[in-house]
């Protein structure tokens, strides 16, 4: 307790000394997220300065060990640091798949050498990572993947295709599941490889979604040579690494602990409804819409309570476990319902794909509504989440 108080004082004074004035307060110039990577350009010198100092201190990822670029803080200390940052309205904008997914998996499964090689570059934002799991014929049945890696000397030669590799076209490295034993049972012939996107034979091509351009890519490997040293954990044991990582992904997709809330400056559903009905105050004249908005808000209240309950349980030392599937399932569907309602409320404005005369928000929310259909599919379909819940939580037989 008194140690923690000491740390709070230290953190406070470090922040006072190191956080540029422009990077704190209500009008701070920090972006919500910096994804890092070789292609990242930071225009504001103050932001660059703040990033450099955070990196030097290890406080982009305060909980990781110091030797890997983290801050070596305990969970309590990390919390104190977050509180102190929040008090002066600043944050560490670095966020990436490296931080949220690959890093934790490396900490658990990588060799000392691999950790020292890769973790600091994640912590500093030097390398931006993307994920190569799904394939065209391996969607829900991820473990049936066919992208193959054949050993040839000190290298694997990788040939095949990945899809839904988000940000592959702007990332530096990719972490990949590949088949190293085609004859083994499907879960037992998979290895986990790290591949430099600049290697010869790698091509990434963006996927256009029904909502338009997307961060997702198809990524092709045509005889790509990958050093065996880039394999994480044992050969043919990549599925264990993948499972750990998938859990982090679901938690992230569900907006679980750890993710900065994205600011939303769009009109609320109620505001959209009031505009569309020309009813700026008082009871909404369309009672069906009124009930739908209330239902959505009540659902959100219930979801928030559920999330809080799990977080409270976590604070009390109980883990989340497969309940992550529940959050992914429910949040994605709630988001869909809400996007759908918003779109309906937009009415004719929401029908316009291109054109001049329509509500300024409509074009953006239309694309968000279309994109919301992906939320119950990517990162594990709702059906897969239900399989996980019923197996792992409810113990139903298979």
């Amino acid at each position: 307790m008194s140690d923690l108080e000491t740390f709070r004082q230290e953190a406070r004074s470090w922040l006072k000394e190191n956080c540029p004035a422009s990077c704190q307060g209500d009008d701070n110039i920090l972006p919500d997220i910096l994804w890092g990577g070789r292609r990242q350009k930071i225009d504001e010198p103050d932001v660059q300065l703040w990033m450099d100092r955070l990196v030097a201190q290890g406080w982009t990822i305060p909980g990781w060990p110091k030797e890997y670029g983290g801050g070596g803080l305990s969970a309590e200390e990390s919390k104190v640091l977050a509180e102190e940052m929040s008090a002066i309205k600043t944050h560490s904008p670095l966020y990436s798949f490296g931080i949220s997914m690959l890093g934790p998996a490396l900490l658990e499964y990588a060799t000392e050498e691999q950790k020292r090689e890769h973790l600091p570059k994640i912590a500093s934002g030097e390398i931006r990572w993307c994920q190569g799991y799904s394939e065209p014929s391996s969607g829900s049945d991820l473990a049936s993947l066919q992208c193959k890696a054949v050993k040839d000397g000190d290298d694997y030669v990788v040939t095949g295709q990945k899809v839904w590799t988000s940000t592959a076209d702007v990332s530096d490295w990719i972490f990949c599941l590949v088949r190293t034993d085609p004859d083994a049972p499907k879960h037992e012939g998979i290895s986990f490889l790290l591949i430099d996107m600049e290697s010869e034979g790698v091509t990434a091509r963006p996927i256009v979604l029904l909502s338009g351009a997307s961060p997702f890519c198809e990524t092709f490997f045509d005889g790509v040579r990958v050093p065996v040293a880039n394999r994480i954990f044992e050969e043919n044991k990549g599925w264990s690494v993948a499972k750990a990582l998938l859990l982090h992904e679901r938690t992230m997709l569900a907006g679980g602990p750890g993710r900065a809330p994205v600011s939303d400056e769009r009109r609320t559903l109620l505001e959209v409804a009031r505009d569309s009905m020309n009813a700026p105050t008082g009871p909404l004249p369309d009672k069906a819409v009124r009930a739908e908005i209330a239902q959505t808000e009540m659902d959100q209240m219930c979801y928030a309570a559920t999330l809080q309950k799990v977080q409270d349980a976590a604070k009390a030392g109980k883990g989340m476990g497969p309940e992550g599937s529940m959050f992914k399932l429910y949040l994605s569907e709630l988001g869909q319902r809400s996007a759908d309602l918003r779109q309906r409320l937009n009415g004719a404005d929401g029908l316009i794909w291109e054109g001049d005369e329509f509500h300024p928000e409509a074009k953006e929310t239309t694309r968000e509504w279309l994109y919301s259909r992906a939320s119950t599919i990517l990162g594990g379909t709702s059906e897969i989440q239900l399989n996980i819940i019923t197996k792992r939580v409810l113990g139903l037989p298979e």
Binding site: L270, A273, P283, A291, M298, D312, M326, T390, P397, E398
Partner: protein, 379 residues
């Protein structure tokens, strides 16, 4: 406020669970149908619950209470709801007790709350007059007479009305049915001249009563709170009651789910456990999510009473609407997944289905609460 149970609360939960399991059988609900007109509750059982302190949980110590909160009362309600136990917890403790605590003066509290806490008095609340929960649709008239007042009117769905010796009655001292102004609260002795009580038995074997008041004399000491100005107290009372009832519902929801999940694991058809059929399995998964969401909002709502949240109207409506929907789902899916045996009187799942309907209508259905939520949110 945290949404997990403290150690003390866990202990209370365990003891409540043991009590209910030991002292109450679901078959009692079937037995009650054999003597449908009695419309009374099992006072022996209630006395045991009182001795465990359950009736005293939410009241201040100065009035014989334990000085705990709805977080604790909710635990007891959930456990009794788990086995559909019939008791005056809602009618005497939550509805009547809250009204007296919130509207009564010190003398009234000192006279009545200890009786509620020690079980020497059984209280029931008479508020509803039509088939729908419409808090302001009150016709029962409180009129001035020499030396006091007279009460005339008719109430229905007075839970445990036939067993109560005291009635808390919502009436109107001015204005018209539907007005928020002019609502008043009075205490009436159930044996008073002019009070006639017709017992009936609800679907779930809960005793209920229709009560007629004819020229019942009300002394000024039995007016609870400011005359004509009861609306705000009633808002709070109904919100608390909706939340406490939701805790009871949560227990039933969990039971129906657990019972069905178990059946999915043991019943075989087509050479396999029926829980292996994805059609049923995925529905069970969705049902589970609804149960979890219901549990979380009940925990939050109970604590919102204790913390004096200014948002209680919205929270209580979100809570009751959600639990209503989940209990309906639980009754329906429970029966459907049990198949033929599920529609027999012999199987317990049907009792939960019936209880789901009673608790839905009591204190407003999902549609009522959706409307109330929107109103409380100013739209």
């Amino acid at each position: 406020m945290t949404l997990i149970l403290s150690e003390e609360q866990e202990l209370l939960k365990d003891s409540a669970k043991s009590f209910v399991d030991d002292q109450w059988q679901l078959n009692q609900l079937r037995a009650n149908r054999a003597s449908p007109k009695t419309g009374t509750i099992d006072t022996g059982l209630w006395q045991q619950m009182v001795e465990l302190g359950w009736a005293a949980i939410p009241f201040p110590e100065e009035f014989g209470g334990l000085g705990l909160g709805y977080a604790e009362l909710g635990i007891v309600m959930e456990e009794s709801g788990r086995k559909l136990l019939i008791s005056p917890l809602l009618s005497s403790v939550v509805l009547s007790g809250s009204t007296i605590e919130l509207a009564g003066n010190n003398d009234q509290k000192a006279e009545h709350l200890p009786k509620i806490c020690d079980g020497s008095g059984l209280y029931a609340m008479a508020y509803q007059e039509t088939s729908r929960h419409e808090p302001e649709n009150v016709h029962a008239a409180l009129t001035k007479s020499e030396g006091g007042y007279q009460l005339n009117g008719h109430k229905q769905l007075v839970i445990n009305g036939g067993s109560a010796n005291h009635l808390v009655v919502v009436c109107r001292s001015s204005g018209d049915a539907g007005d928020r102004d002019g609502l008043s609260l009075v205490l009436v002795d159930s044996k008073a001249a002019g009070v006639s009580i017709a017992n009936n038995l609800l679907l779930d074997s809960t005793p209920s009563a229709n009560i007629t008041f004819r020229d019942v004399t009300i002394s000024p000491e039995d007016i609870l709170g400011e005359i004509g100005n009861a609306a705000e107290v009633l808002d709070e009372v109904y919100a608390r009651a909706a939340i406490a009832l939701s805790a009871d519902m949560l227990g039933g929801i969990q039971s129906a789910f657990d019972m069905t999940l178990e059946y999915l694991k043991v019943r075989e058809q087509f050479g396999a456990k029926i829980g292996t059929f994805q059609g049923l399995k995925h529905r069970a998964g969705r049902w589970f999510c609804e149960v979890e969401l219901s549990r979380a909002i009940v925990l939050k709502a109970l604590r919102s009473i204790d913390s004096g949240s200014g948002d209680l109207a919205r929270v209580s409506s979100a809570c009751k609407a959600r639990c209503t929907a989940t209990y309906q789902l639980s009754g329906k899916e429970g029966i459907q997944m049990h198949g033929g045996i599920g529609v027999t009187d012999e199987h317990d799942i049907g009792l939960y289905f019936k209880r789901a309907r009673v608790t839905e209508i009591l204190l407003g259905d999902a549609s009522f609460h959706t409307d109330q939520f929107a109103t409380a949110s100013n739209y």
